[in-house]
């Protein structure tokens, strides 16, 4: 059995050699290729509509050409492109800030005691919920908006936070609140995995500060930076619902992003070719960013050395002094409180009656009770809850069944090097493909098949959309397995199943990470459900959005619906967070 890595081919011999070596190539069994078949079929759900969109973009009345791309000279479209690029920049900003926060918490132990749950909760809730939360906080009426109230108290008058230009602050705050915790957790896990002897050796050499960062932390964390950047870029490109819920109608034009612009164009009956061209431009931007951002994923991830002997605790990281520990503990508590504050505001707002929440902020003491929850329940919240549960569970199950064999095939199936590379590149591009690229053709197909409004169709689309990232993640985890373990598993007569059993045992963190992330992603999704689903599959996010149309006056029911919609993903994330982070970063520990 050959192991291939970095162009080097290793032949592992697991037993005594009995005959002479025979020249020639070993036969490659075709069996493993079958493992990739389901993934191929599922990916076609995306690939074919993407192809249709690309063709439509280049088809002009007189044949093929770039005629449709004249849409890009349109002022609105140009502004949308600019804003979308701005969002990608915001992403990089968040990754950098997250890295330094992680470094800070690493150098000041005990910070993480409280920080973990506080950082995870925002990550678990949907974009729509965090948008609603920040719109509550920044409401321009001093009786309702927390920030406006504080500002007015301090300086006599407050800027209109949702007004022209300033709404960016609210948007970026909401986005950052959602993603920063995730970024910090991942980087922190990576830092924790740096072997102590390495870092001690560097310290002994007197390498400090920036030089140490450049020599040690940055190179070692590059693969993790790849994972992080990829996920956050995907989110930034999907920014759509955040703008719909945060920015008042009169300002939405200046907050326009390509996704929204595309959607408005499709709905106002623009020429399909032009809207397809918009989609292709969006896609090109994102694919470029994605491919740059995931170079870390392509390399073999830096695997954890297998510790055979428990390290002597006295040789571990030196324990900081007690005063430093206490200081770190206090800082951690302060940051955690600030970070959890928006969620607290949301919950308390939900506990006010609709009348009270519409007039006064969360700090008012009257009108407490559950009437906002009752009001939210009256617009079909619980039906939507059930619908969402079915869709998310089905999508997660389908995804796992298909992604595991595929990832195994890519990691250990002995694919020729070039094929493996190509498959990976395709998956990276698919992972960041915006929904707009496949929504319209897919929707037509679902309609034509008479599946409009079927939950299973929607779940399949979700599974297809989640597949690329799941495969990338699982493949990294599989590839980081200790080679001895794999070679051993590959020796037996029932090779594939033995390997799969080992995989199951060893890679549970990565599997759980994929399952939890997919479930939460589908549960919180707005854009796919909005663009692809038909009537009959109203997901939670659509109910929430319907409630939020007249935002301030319905603060109470909106907050209540948001709280109800967040319970499941928050509990799920808090329960599995450690495992998820392990699965996302260090792959496996035997």
């Amino acid at each position: 059995m050959g192991l291939q890595t970095n162009g080097l081919s290793l032949e592992i011999v697991g037993r005594e050699i009995t005959g002479r070596p025979v020249p020639g190539k070993p036969r490659r069994p075709a069996g493993p290729y079958l493992l990739g078949l389901p993934a191929l079929l599922l990916s076609c759900l995306l690939l074919i509509p993407i192809g249709v969109t690309v063709v439509a973009a280049f088809r002009t009345p007189g044949g093929f050409g770039f005629g449709n791309f004249a849409v890009m000279t349109d002022q609105g479209a140009l502004r949308a492109v600019g804003n979308s690029l701005l969002w990608v920049l915001v992403t990089f900003g968040i990754v950098v800030v997250g890295f330094f926060l992680a470094l800070l918490s690493y150098r000041l132990p005990a910070v993480t005691t409280f920080l973990q749950p506080a950082l995870v909760i925002p990550f678990a809730v949907s974009v729509l919920v965090s948008g609603a939360t920040f719109r509550l906080l920044f409401d321009p009426t001093p009786e309702r908006g927390t920030v406006t109230a504080v500002w007015t108290r301090l300086f006599g008058s407050s800027p209109v936070w949702l007004g022209p230009g300033l709404f960016w602050l609210v948007l970026v705050s909401a986005f950052g609140w959602t993603w920063l915790g995730y970024v910090v957790s991942l980087f922190r896990a990576g830092l924790d995995a740096i072997p102590d002897d390495v870092s001690r050796a560097l310290t002994a050499e007197g390498v400090r500060g920036w030089r140490r960062l450049r020599a040690l932390e940055i190179p070692l964390l590059r693969p993790i930076a790849g994972v992080v950047t990829l996920t956050v870029v995907i989110a930034a490109v999907r920014v759509f619902d955040l703008i719909l819920i945060v920015v008042p109608g009169s300002m939405q034009r200046s907050a326009d992003v390509l996704g929204l612009n595309w959607w408005r164009a499709t709905t106002s009956g623009d020429d399909p070719g032009r809207t397809a061209a918009l989609g292709v431009v969006l896609f090109a931007i994102v694919a470029a960013v994605g491919l740059i951002g995931v170079r870390g994923l392509r390399r073999r991830r830096w695997a954890m050395p297998v510790t055979v002997v428990r390290p002597d605790p006295s040789l571990g990281r030196s324990k900081p002094r007690r005063s430093v520990r206490r200081f770190g503990w206090l800082i951690g508590l302060a940051v955690a409180l600030v970070w959890i504050f928006p969620a607290v505001v949301l919950v308390i707002t939900a506990l006010h009656s609709p009348e009270e929440a519409g007039v006064r902020g969360w700090w008012s003491a009257s009108g407490l009770g559950f009437s906002s929850f009752a009001a939210a329940a009256n617009v079909g919240l619980f039906r939507a809850l059930l619908s969402t549960l079915i869709i998310a569970s089905a999508a997660t199950a389908v995804l796992l069944v298909i992604a595991v064999p595929t990832a195994y095939l890519v990691a250990w199936g002995g694919l020729p090097l070039r094929v493996g590379r190509t498959v990976m590149a395709v998956f990276v591009v698919l992972a960041v493909t915006p929904v707009q690229m496949y929504a319209a053709p897919l929707r037509d197909v679902i309609d034509a098949a008479g599946l409009a409004g079927s939950r299973i169709a929607l779940a399949l689309v979700h599974a297809a959309a989640g597949l690329p990232f799941a495969v990338l993640l699982l493949r990294s985890a599989f590839a980081s397995a200790p080679p001895a373990l794999v070679s051993e598993a590959l020796q037996g007569p029932v090779r594939q199943s033995a390997v799969l059993a080992t995989v199951q045992r060893t890679y549970r963190p990565a599997l759980i990470a994929v399952a939890v992330l997919e479930f939460a992603l589908v549960w919180n999704d707005f854009i796919v459900g909005f663009l692809v689903s038909g009537p009959g599959t109203t997901p939670l996010s659509l109910v929430l959005w319907g409630e939020a149309r007249q935002f301030s006056a319905s603060s109470g029911p909106v907050a209540a619906a948001a709280v109800v919609a967040s319970i499941v993903p928050v509990v799920l994330m808090l329960t599995f967070w450690r495992t998820v982070v392990r699965g996302l970063t260090t792959g496996s520990r035997p």
Binding site: G163, G358, F530, P535, R549
Partner: protein
């Protein structure tokens, strides 16, 4: 079924559905908000069985996408006013569910008593009233500029008040060019003169821009920071549930623009249409919803007018309902719905939003702002 309602209105509609008794098919209500026009269209991504369309003016533009109404329901779509929009070549494509009176101004009587004035009977009196209130330290007007349709409603009232014939021509034109109508610019000037007067708008233009329709009502009745607000009949439940003083609620209708002219009455409404292809279940639901007593639960909640019915409402709404059925009134359907793309979120909504920002930011250079708005409108017409 796609609807544009949310919050309280959506809950009221659910009560209406519950009141229909048990149906042998599930009804799913999808709230699409202002983007309800996405429910049909060449490449619609959502095709519901029934659309509750808040812009009846869109019906003539989408005849190809709609199923004709069954014969037993067709007469409902042929009532006065509705006929021009819903019936085409003898075939009816929609049935009215709800009527909206868009020329109502809700105010707090206590403030008017405080400065000793009556509701205005003429546009010029209204401007004087605003000055009187400002001098007494009271902000007269709350404007929900965060919702574009509030601004177009205001403009339509002024235009219908000064030039009904221009209004009707624009509504009927296949390729409307409002930027070429001097009366349209005149209406903008009048509007600008009201909006740009110092201290008239609660929170100034900046805060008006982020105020949605219910926020403006809360501003008047909840926080009591302004005296009045132009809002349709469906503002009623919001006004009543957020009013700090439930007895301090009054209503007057939009005054005539000049002595001897008729007062403008802009009418809107929600019509039920059936996108192609339809099913029997959908026809059945439309039939049930158009029964005379179907909307009773919503009428109890308030803020609901039925075409041609004048009883069973609160006193304020009864006045509006009577005005809608009186002969000889200057009734016209909402104009922006009938202008197609020109009247929607990227057309007139945007032009008026920018116009408001201009008159607010230029310290009252109304003529300049009007010229810019007309230029922008021309660009939209030509695109």
């Amino acid at each position: 079924m796609a609807v544009s309602w949310s919050g309280q209105e959506l809950r009221a509609f659910h009560k209406v559905l519950d009141g229909l008794g048990t149906l042998d098919y599930p009804v799913e209500v999808v709230p699409l908000g202002d983007d309800i026009s996405t429910a049909f269209g060449a490449r619609s991504t959502r095709r519901p069985d029934i659309v509750m369309l808040p812009q009846p003016g869109l019906v003539p533009r989408h005849l190809g996408d709609l199923e004709p109404m069954p014969d037993d329901l067709a007469p409902l779509g042929q009532a006065r006013l509705w006929k021009d929009l819903l019936t085409h070549d003898g075939t009816t494509y929609g049935v009215p569910f709800k009527t909206a009176h868009k020329s109502a101004v809700w105010y707090r009587p206590s403030v008017f008593e405080q400065v000793g004035v009556q509701p205005p009977r003429l546009w010029s009196e209204w401007l004087t009233l605003n000055r009187t209130l400002t001098q007494a330290g009271i902000t007269p007007l709350s404007l929900a500029a965060g919702d574009g349709w509030v601004l177009t409603d205001f403009l339509e009232n002024v235009l219908l008040g000064i030039a009904p014939s221009v209004y009707v021509d624009l509504a009927a034109a296949t390729d409307p060019r409002p930027s070429r109508q001097p009366q349209f610019a005149a209406a903008l000037r009048l509007l600008g003169s009201m909006w740009s007067a110092p201290g008239v708008l609660a929170g100034g233009v900046k805060e008006s821009l982020v105020q949605q329709f219910p926020d403006a009502l809360i501003e008047v009745f909840g926080h009591r920071r302004a005296a009045m607000v132009l809002a349709s009949d469906f503002a009623e439940p919001v006004v009543r549930s957020f009013a700090a003083d439930p007895k301090d609620i009054g209503l007057f209708t939009f005054p005539p623009m000049s002595p001897g002219a008729a007062a403008p009455v802009v009418v809107g409404g929600d019509v039920m249409v059936l996108p192609k292809p339809t099913r029997d279940d959908a026809r059945d639901l439309v039939r049930r919803l158009s029964a005379p007593d179907a909307p009773d639960p919503w009428i109890k909640e308030g803020g609901f007018l039925v075409d041609g019915r004048v009883s069973g409402y609160s006193p304020e709404l009864t006045r509006l309902a009577v005005q809608l059925t009186k002969p000889g009134e200057q009734l016209q359907f909402d104009l922006s719905d009938q202008l197609g793309r020109l009247g929607d979120i990227n057309g007139l909504w945007r032009v008026l939003t920018d116009f408001l920002i201009q008159v607010g930011g230029r310290g009252g250079d109304v003529p300049g702002a009007v010229d810019d708005a007309i230029d922008e409108l021309r660009r939209v017409e030509e695109s």
